[in-house]
Amino acid sequence: MEKHVVVIGAGPAGLETSASLSKLGFRVTLVEKEEATGGHLKKWHALFPTLLSGKDALESITKELNSTIKIQTATKITGLEAVNDYFTISGHNGWQEKADAVVLTTGFQLFDSHRKEEYGYGIYENVITSADLEELFASGKEFVNRHGNKPERVGFVHCVGSRDEKVNNLHCSKVCCITAVKQAIEVKQLLPDAEIFCFYMDLRMFGRHYEELYKEAQEKYNIQFIRGRLSESTEDHEGNIVVKVEDTLLGKPLRIKVGLLVLMAGMEPRAGTKSLTTMLGLKNVPDGFIQPVDEVLRSNFTEIPGVFVAGTCSGPKSVSDTLADARSAALAVADYLKS
């Protein structure tokens, strides 16, 4: 009999896992709590390091889905239980399924930048997040700040909600450094006369061509990288954002006015992941991200046979790493179901 796999979460990881499982000959149901599939990628304008458009990337991933995959959107999982050698899954709207295996692809949630109170997100109009900036890029509208002015200076704050004990997030969100470099270049292309500053504590350019892009940002686009964390931002009487930061290489405090301040909001474990792992009885969820049985050798396996993970629900990843992880998860499921 054809084995059935339920994939929970229809972002890039869920879409890619479903397509791969279908190609491997399994019956797949992809469940999504929102009305539409695509996750965060729906709102993302362009991906580093090649500036591939988010829309094109999503279309390309979605194109691989075939008609045999059942997509169940607008369904919030309310029941998930292992029964003998299968799983029962139910949704808030009465939807129910049985599955031979389950793949958790619930993704991440963006760090709520309001929690870094000292940066003034939600209080000062010209403090926005990296996600807000992608929406601004995607809108195709004229690049102006929230007061309708072309900013003469733009600042990017790295590590907002990442590597920060004050907000109880010790992890690095991995993608924000290179995203800031990418976004800084995009802003400079739109506003060639603007001065662009990136305030960072480390630059983690781990991926192929990331370092080159960082170098290009400095040499070709004259983007200023200042090593230091912001202590605060405030608003002046003209609506500019006044940031206070220490340049730790010069050993001097700085006060800089910018017309737009972009907070590089990090990845956090999704609250919904926690409720699913609780339903399943998964214990190894140390900080809200699901811990695989072995991070090196068995990164898609959980401690419950038949329950697999893919994508950012097990930790921050780039889109390319997420897609590779999703394909890897599909093979792990296939191995499990055929054994």
Partner: protein, 358 residues
């Protein structure tokens, strides 16, 4: 600026403030700097709000200035504070109300230390008993006096004769609120509104008809900062801090500054004189300066208390233009008269800052 963003944060930083029966601990320096402030607080709490407040003559300094200047060890500080708590216990009170921001911060720090290190509390109890034979209960509620005025700000507004409004235009006065650093910067959850956007004074200003100014150097220290001032060689830094704040608030044309710390009104008031003498620069319109008040003085002003009874004549930056703007009457001829009408003598007029006398 989106006020709703601040309101969301304020919701997260509310605290319990006792409703009645306060043991009041005065500040070491306020009665010299702004002699009316504490008396107004006691009068408002007792006579206007009908609450019970105990003003104890035996308490001492909390050692805060010495502690933060690194000349008093923490064990000594904790033992002195334990004695204050013993006085409260002996007087039959459970709600401690500190007049001073640094004391409030230090009491909070001591209680937090004892919470996390109970063995330290036991040791301090032993020290106190050996030294004085006293024992104590910890306060059930610890508040800064400004928390109490904040709690009853609407009742005060209901009894007030005046509002923080320009009597000629009907427009709200533009008010700078300055919070003492030790109020909530160390323990954000112990202050109304938290550390980044404290609401304790903003709440009073809103309730009393004024409009709060949010300016870039709002969070910056007033310039007291203990070592900036206590160490004489650092006083240039103290002045620089104050100047930075004045320069930053100047474009907003504030009508007044309200503070809740002993040192802040002193430095924001007196340094306006020092800066004017050094640089010929005055802030505010017509060389009048920007008047600086304690929140108790402002409460007293809107209640219609005689400005000279609440000590406004000892301010360096004159209060008269603001009193005129609100419409609060005063007898200019009594400004430098003592309690019994004797002439106290007139201070020398500054070179630049406008001086008001009969």
């Amino acid at each position: 600026m989106k006020l709703e963003g601040k309101r969301l944060i304020w919701q997260d930083y509310q605290k319990e403030i006792a409703d009645d029966h306060y043991f009041y601990a005065r500040s070491c320096i306020r009665q010299t700097f702004f002699p009316g402030a504490e008396a107004i607080f006691i009068k408002i709490v007792k006579d206007e709000l009908g609450k019970d407040i105990h003003d104890n003559q035996h308490h001492t300094s909390c050692t805060g200035i010495g502690y933060h200047s690194d000349v008093v060890p923490f064990d000594t500080t904790m033992t002195v504070i334990a004695r204050q708590f013993a006085l409260m216990t002996e007087a039959g009170y459970e709600n401690y109300a500190a007049s001073c921001i640094t004391s409030f911060g230090l009491y909070t720090e001591v209680l937090e230390t004892w919470h996390h290190f109970p063995e330290k509390e036991a040791q301090i109890r032993e020290y106190l008993f050996k030294a004085t034979g006293r024992e104590f209960n910890k306060p059930k509620n610890l508040a800064h006096a400004s928390d109490i005025v904040y709690k009853f700000r609407h009742q005060i507004a209901a009894k007030a004769k005046y509002k923080l409004v320009d009597k000629n235009t009907g427009e709200p006065l533009k008010v700078v609120e300055h919070i003492g650093c030790h109020y909530s910067k160390m323990f954000p959850h112990k202050g109304i509104g938290g550390a980044e956007y404290p609401y304790v004074l903003s709440g009073m200003i809103e309730a009393w008809g004024g409009e709060v100014i949010d300016y870039p150097e709002r969070r910056h220290c007033c310039g007291f900062g203990f070592r900036q001032y206590v160490v004489q060689a650092n006083r240039g830094f103290s002045l620089s801090c104050s100047k930075k704040k004045f320069d930053s608030m100047e474009p907003y044309e504030p009508d007044m500054i309200i503070t809740n710390c002993p040192g802040c009104p002193m430095f924001l008031d007196r340094w306006q004189y020092a800066l004017s003498e050094m640089e010929g620069k005055t802030y505010g319109k017509n060389n009048q300066g920007i008047p600086v008040f304690t929140y108790e003085e402002v409460a007293g002003m809107i209640m219609g208390y005689d400005p000279w009874e609440i000590g406004l004549q000892v301010h360096q930056v004159p209060a008269e233009p603001l009193l005129d703007k609100i419409g609060i009457p005063y007898d200019a001829s009594r400004k430098f008269k003592g309690k019994n009408g004797e002439d106290l003598g007139m201070p020398e007029s500054p070179s630049y800052l406008k001086f008001y006398a009969e």
